[in-house]
Symmetry: C2
Subunit: 448 residues, 2 copies
């Protein structure tokens, strides 16, 4: 799309070209082309010196700027911002067909330029319209919005809805699925989908953004491009595909049960814990495997979504109050994951703070107690220290090896959705369904 005739005429008259430094009222920056698919032709798109793109309604005046050096914008910008709406969705050519599910989050959000705050508001259509490169990689069977919340507000009902939609899309012909999702709890959702998508035979790729998509420094375009490549790869697993490094080099495909958000702001926030990434995904489409994975195949996917949400995740620490276990048991909680210290310990010998009687009583009353590593990295081993042995063999808690606490929590709800037998729960919790356990940890997995 080009700018309106009014704007084009004015640019011609002033000898202004795309990329020139311009002034429009108080706004100064580089003139950008009008967006390919979306965009109001009467709004000028200006890249500010702080890297943000803004849309400024054209009111008849634009000038070449005499300033050569970028300046820091001091004033908060308060200009009208263009409303983007997808005009059309490209039709499929000879490209692989996938589906995109928008589940809210920053990647589908917009900045309110008045307050600076970010709200979820885009739809899948908008998302796609923002990254026209996608149309050269895949064709979209469907762009579906299942949620418009930020991810801290997602709950198991959302996981179920997304899982069902993924299964539906794949069984209906999609060769892969991209799930656009908020980053706050993306690793909880990726774990849930990993367990819920039974017999998965195609890639299910979660992606998101650390900066909202209409900001200049947004990471969403590359994340979506890499996710498109990942969705047509032969990796038939649930994974998170986002920036691997601080610059726009490549993305990681991280197994859904082994991923964790590890930084509040950096774009390479998602890291594999006790695992290698499955692959590096380059924006040019190269897929560089770093380990073995489940391969693309035929076959229907089942959304196995039975879920018991009444489970809890708690942490053991010095002076911690172990009656928290009793509280959850009284509230009808069916299972609890404790983030234990070190190799899987809780306060034990100090009578005032010992968790042992509370864990023992919970287990005796039929509540499953699992232990996961508070350190995040490394494997538990209850046998090294006396306290570990007491927790495992006297109180009958189950040490969950190298499983992430968040993954263990999500898995426990899924397991409890399937059985109430304590023996079966334990068996299922220790069964490797979706790569949640790693047979051999390697030293270089630490802080990968």
């Amino acid at each position: 799309m080009s700018y309106s005739k009014r704007i084009e005429d004015e640019l011609k008259k002033k000898g202004i070209k795309i990329g020139d430094r311009v002034k429009v009222g108080d706004v100064e920056g580089l003139l950008m082309p009008s967006p390919e698919i979306t965009g109001n032709p009467d709004f000028l798109v200006i890249k500010l010196d702080n890297g943000y793109n803004i849309g400024v309604k054209f009111k008849g005046k634009i000038e070449k700027s005499s300033t050569k050096e970028p300046q820091r914008i001091k004033k908060e910008f308060e200009y009208e911002v263009e409303e983007t709406h997808a005009q059309s969705i490209p039709k499929c050519h000879d490209l692989p067909m996938i589906s995109l599910i928008s589940a809210g989050g920053t990647i589908s959000s917009k900045v309110d330029y008045k307050t600076g705050a970010v709200y979820p508001s885009f739809t899948s259509r908008d998302l796609f319209a923002q990254v026209p490169e996608l149309s050269k990689i895949v064709c979209f069977k469907e762009l579906k919005t299942v949620s418009e919340v930020l991810s801290e507000d997602m709950c198991y009902e959302d996981w179920i809805e997304i899982a069902k939609e993924c299964a539906y899309q794949i069984n209906d012909g999609a060769g892969g699925v991209i799930v656009a999702h908020g980053t706050d709890t993306m690793h909880y959702t990726s774990a849930a989908l990993s367990f819920m998508l039974s017999g998965l035979s195609k890639p299910v790729v979660l992606t998101g953004a650390q900066r909202s998509t209409d900001r200049g420094s947004a990471d969403s375009a590359m994340n979506l491009i890499c996710s498109a490549h990942a969705s047509i790869s032969d990796i038939a697993e649930v994974g998170i595909v986002m920036h691997a490094e601080t610059d726009d080099s490549y993305c990681f495909f991280i197994r859904g049960t082994k991923a964790r958000k590890m930084h509040t702001t950096m774009r390479n926030t998602f890291r594999p814990i006790n695992d290698y990434p499955i692959a590096k995904i380059w924006p040019d489409g190269k897929v560089e495997p770093l380990q073995t994975y489940k391969k693309r195949a035929d076959g229907k996917v089942k959304a196995d979504t039975k879920y018991e949400p009444n489970v809890a995740l708690v942490k053991a620490y010095p002076n911690s109050d172990p009656t928290i276990i009793d509280y959850f048991v009284k509230k009808g909680c069916k299972g609890i994951i404790i983030e234990g210290t070190g190799l899987g310990h809780v306060p034990t010998q100090n009578k005032k703070y010992s968790w042992i009687p509370h864990v023992k009583e919970a287990v005796n009353s039929g509540v499953f107690i699992g232990i996961a590593p508070q350190t995040l990295y490394g494997k538990l081993n209850p046998d090294v220290y006396a306290n570990g042995r007491i927790l495992a063999y006297e109180a009958n808690a189950v040490h969950l090896k190298d499983m992430l606490p968040e993954t263990a929590y999500v898995k426990l709800g899924w397991v409890l959705g399937h059985t109430k037998s304590m023996k079966k729960i334990k068996d299922m919790m220790l069964t490797n369904y979706a790569g949640e356990f790693k047979e051999r940890l390697q030293p270089d997995m630490f802080l990968y």
Copy 2:
């Protein structure tokens, strides 16, 4: 110390030298020298092929082994183990005088070779006796045992006792203090000492071991040697000094408020979070600063140990039960740290799971609610997303920037020991007492 005449005679007769591969009954391995200071001269020390050293009582028979290649030991070893006791403690020469406080943990533990489990049992004297190199670096004003528990059993009373002992030792002439401590909760203790040691003018160095000291692969010797160097450095801060890498290259001196145990088993488990290490400490004594720090000075240290233990640390996650806040408030809890998602969020818009009413009510009833990053790395910012603003400005929770959840929890107990005024609590929680906040985070601090 050499072996007993009985053993030496037998070795001579058989032509066996130290380092030879020998067989003693069922035990096969390399013959090690008798320990320098400790050691029973009637026990042979054999290095097994799995790297463990064991002591085997000499019963008259030892032979050269014909096996050339190390073999895997299949059988669990069940031999009598020598009892080590320090025979003497070297006197001070012209070396800097420091104190060593043993607070239990693996570094002061022994393996029970019958069960393979590890128990705390050594004293400071034993510790020192195991690493005779220390006597060339420092002289010990005092070797004091304040605790013999593993660190998961330590509580705030132990922190207070250690803080008081550190202050006493420094005010009584020690140029620095080493605290031998279990690793499970070492970072909680290092945070506590950071806040409790007011006007600290000498190094207070916590160190420990990931493998017990009487095992061949133990990391304690280098950790103690580096800690001795650190204790006589000009770094007048509380810090953790342990392996920086997987091999025995050097240690980090990590600020006590910015350290976290990040791996269950690896010896380089302690990492700086949102900070650089203060320095690299090399076993040869070289101290390589990596950032600014508080310098050694004169002046008395005060143990400011008033502490309110009735505080809690909880985590917000999908489907999490926010009534946990009410529970802690009802139990008389004076402050709660919530590990929030992303930039500092909790479930907000979903009425069924929203934490907002509970946080609001807790704050209104005079309970301080602080938010710390669940990601561990990065800084919080409540202003970017609508949900963050609701938590900060409607529910009046306090976002604690880049402070570690564990540090925030320990600090809150210390702050509440000093004031009950909500305004003062908030001011103190946001005051940088001991490097718990970092002014500028750098990208390369991530996964350091």
